[in-house]
Subunit: 458 residues, 2 copies
């Protein structure tokens, strides 16, 4: 089989500059979904590029940002792979921490620095360019391929579920394949079979209608910062256990097999410690992965009130705001957790406002699925390294729309480097990872073609 893919590598090698230039064009186009900046321009740019390759494309409107849909069909009965990705990106701030402009792709030390380089434009382009490479090498694909590139992943994919519900016929497929997130720090390829979900909320506490002087009004008007602090204290205990009633009720416990997989994942504490910028990391590997895959989080992603400049300003702030994102594990239901959260706040701090800011369900595909084995074998051949199989990603993707809404198996194979710094300043994508991603997708397409021919003959 490896022989039949021998044309792939030389084509990629010849076209490195061209493929990078095409990626850079997409990276330069801002597409910040939480700020509605450049979205439609980016979607159109991506669509045109896919069309040029020979993929049938169209923008499908949603209640929010358009989906870039594409398909390249062999025939009705062929195996169908649905490739999912997203063309929107996170806001770039804090701007002052970027070493090069966030929307000007810049190569340093073999890496492309740009917002969206890893998350997700670089990985998405690897998929598209794999199709171009395969077509140019062999004239046609061995399977049907469909693409769904959405523009709202960084705002919780709010309209993806309804898009999927409304387009079930169009999206008919045998397997969903995603490349997003960082690959494993060991350098071995990673195969992810699920994700944590999340729930995002914003808390707002009010004091007086405007900021007051902390001397002349001190002890008279309430301070909304203290209101939030007092509420937070009722939400979590000193051992970091969430005190919302029923928060842990529905958590699916890991199976013996999954716990065994944890132990097999390579873990180099010093390396991780350096890569995440936290020298005091003291966890062992099993705990590290268990916390990432099987335990929910209760994170405060922002807390803002009053004066934040240099020096001092003696005021009692009129308002305090906190943003939270809570990662949920299989089978926690974001809607259920949100209701419990609201109930808790109403009980302990009824005058604090809770705003729902988005949610994604968790998702998990069985480690025993036949296609997991096929993809694992393709990835192994592409990288010539043993893939690491993780039952879940620490982060969130709207994977449940495939597993829960369409009932399909879903496999995530991240192409970005472990230290891609997604969501942070100086986000980057290792150039080798980009080209290996193109190669890997070619192998997956090829192997699924072989598998489906075998399946049919059987």
């Amino acid at each position: 089989m490896a022989v039949s893919l021998e044309k792939i590598e030389p084509i990629i090698c010849d076209r490195k500059e061209q493929y990078l230039a095409q990626l850079f064009t997409l990276l330069r186009q801002k597409s910040i979904s939480t700020q509605n900046d450049g979205i439609v321009e980016c979607a159109e740019l991506l669509r045109e590029f896919m069309e040029e390759i020979g993929i049938q494309t169209r923008l499908i409107e949603t209640k929010g940002n358009p989906v870039v849909y594409g398909q390249l069909l062999k025939n009705e009965s062929a195996f169908t792979l649905l490739i999912y990705g997203h063309y929107d990106v996170q806001p770039p701030d804090p701007l002052e921490e970027w070493l090069s402009p966030p929307f000007e792709p810049t190569i340093r030390d073999g890496k492309i620095y740009c917002r969206g380089a890893g998350d997700n434009k670089g990985q998405l382009m690897a998929q598209v360019l794999a199709v171009k490479t395969y077509l140019d090498a062999y004239g046609e694909l061995p399977i049907n391929v469909k693409f769904v590139f959405e523009g709202e992943e960084e705002r919780s994919s709010v309209n993806l579920p309804s898009f999927v519900q409304e387009n079930k016929e169009l999206l008919k497929a045998d397997l969903v394949y995603t490349s997003d997130g960082p690959s494993h720090e060991s350098g071995n390829p990673l195969i992810l079979l699920g994700v944590r979900g999340n729930l995002k909320v914003q808390l707002t506490a009010a004091g007086a209608d405007w900021d007051n002087h902390s001397g002349n009004k001190g002890n008279i008007v309430p301070n909304p910062v203290w209101k939030l602090i007092d509420l937070f204290h009722t939400l979590r205990d000193g051992n970091e256990r969430v005190l919302i009633e029923g928060f842990y009720d529905n958590i699916r416990q890991p199976t013996e097999f999954e716990l065994r997989l944890l132990k097999e994942i390579p873990y180099n504490r010093d390396e991780i410690s350096e890569k995440i910028g936290y020298k005091d990391l003291a966890l062992d590997g099993e705990t590290y992965y268990r916390r990432l895959m099987f335990e929910p989080t209760f994170n405060i992603s922002g807390f803002h009130s009053g004066y934040g400049g240099n020096g001092v300003k003696t005021i009692i702030p009129s308002k305090a705001t906190a943003k939270m994102d809570i990662r949920l594990v299989a089978d926690q239901d974001p809607e259920d957790i949100y209701q419990k959260f609201v109930r808790h706040v109403k009980k302990h701090a009824p005058d604090i406002d809770v705003q729902f800011m988005g949610a994604v369900d968790p998702s998990r595909t069985s480690s025993n699925h036949e296609l997991v084995k096929v993809v694992t074998s393709a990835v192994r051949e592409a990288y010539q390294l043993e893939p690491i199989i993780q039952p879940s990603l620490g982060g969130s993707l709207p994977d449940y729309v495939w597993t829960k809404l369409l009932g399909l198996p879903s496999i995530v194979v991240p192409y970005a480097n472990f230290d891609e710094a997604n969501h942070s300043p100086n986000e980057n994508l290792n150039i080798d990872h980009f080209f290996n991603g193109i190669k890997c997708t070619c192998h997956v397409i090829h192997k699924l073609g072989e598998h489906s021919r075998t399946s049919i003959t059987i």
Copy 2:
């Protein structure tokens, strides 16, 4: 006596436009001490203006911003009044809440809107223009007058104590007189015999060296917001009592006489409620004033960490900062409280950094002092209203440099309107209050002249 001051009122009346224009020139000159913006320019402008009136002036350098010193001496043996004020102002943000530009004095509904209008340029100019008015009316002052206008009051008057220590001879006086802060909401003139002190600190908690993705690193790197929240919970209980060991140890309890004064201060809850923008104000008058004068505060004036823009950003912040200002009552010592604060933090959260950001001692002058009666009588005649005597201001002024370092009585008579919104957007000074301030200073100077002649004959 009232007869002998009959020339004052007509002069003020004739010169309203001129006096306002002179104030506006000073207001337009920025002088933000915490940002070192426009300080020297403002000091020079003020000095020149005083010089034109006939006051001997000079800028006296300190380790920080210069003091504008002035004197107009009758003779060595005459009674000496030392007038204190400050020419620096608070930063104007949040800028978007100003209805007119913060450094362009704008008249609306009989009020001058501008940063510094009330705090303290308008009141300081009322003192200076009183001298001009008195001189033009009567050719000379009945007493010696000295002026100390500092440029660092809004950053805790950090260099005023050493300035006073180093210039004891120059500053020899019989009484210190200050006009700062808002007058009483009842409209009656206010006489203040002390201030609360304050202690300002900044707390900084660190997590990883940079922001991390809340999914891929969630449960792995610590969140500095939670660190601060956990610390704050050890600092104050649910009844708002400060839990720092020894925090309440040295508080001077109010005397029977002071408590009686509290009951005599007019209190209109609805009016205050409206003026401070807090409709749920439920305190009775005695509690209101006791909390402002005799109880310390424990205020958080700013709390900032992570993402604060629109929408969401799923990060674990790398840093969280909180600014506190703690008002202290007589005889709490800021240095002592700071040491106790640091000890508490070292015990409960040793990795949180505490930064000292400035302090002012509390101060109180005896309600029975003879000069309190003289000034009260002058104020009564100027306003034709019964003055309200308050043992303390809720806010802070470096009054202790007079009472503690020089051993002088010190009296504060605020000229600004109650709703001057000092330290807030749309700071303002009622025009009538400005002209009444000029008149009041003339009465105080005159009455002190009469008093000193009487004293000498006796």
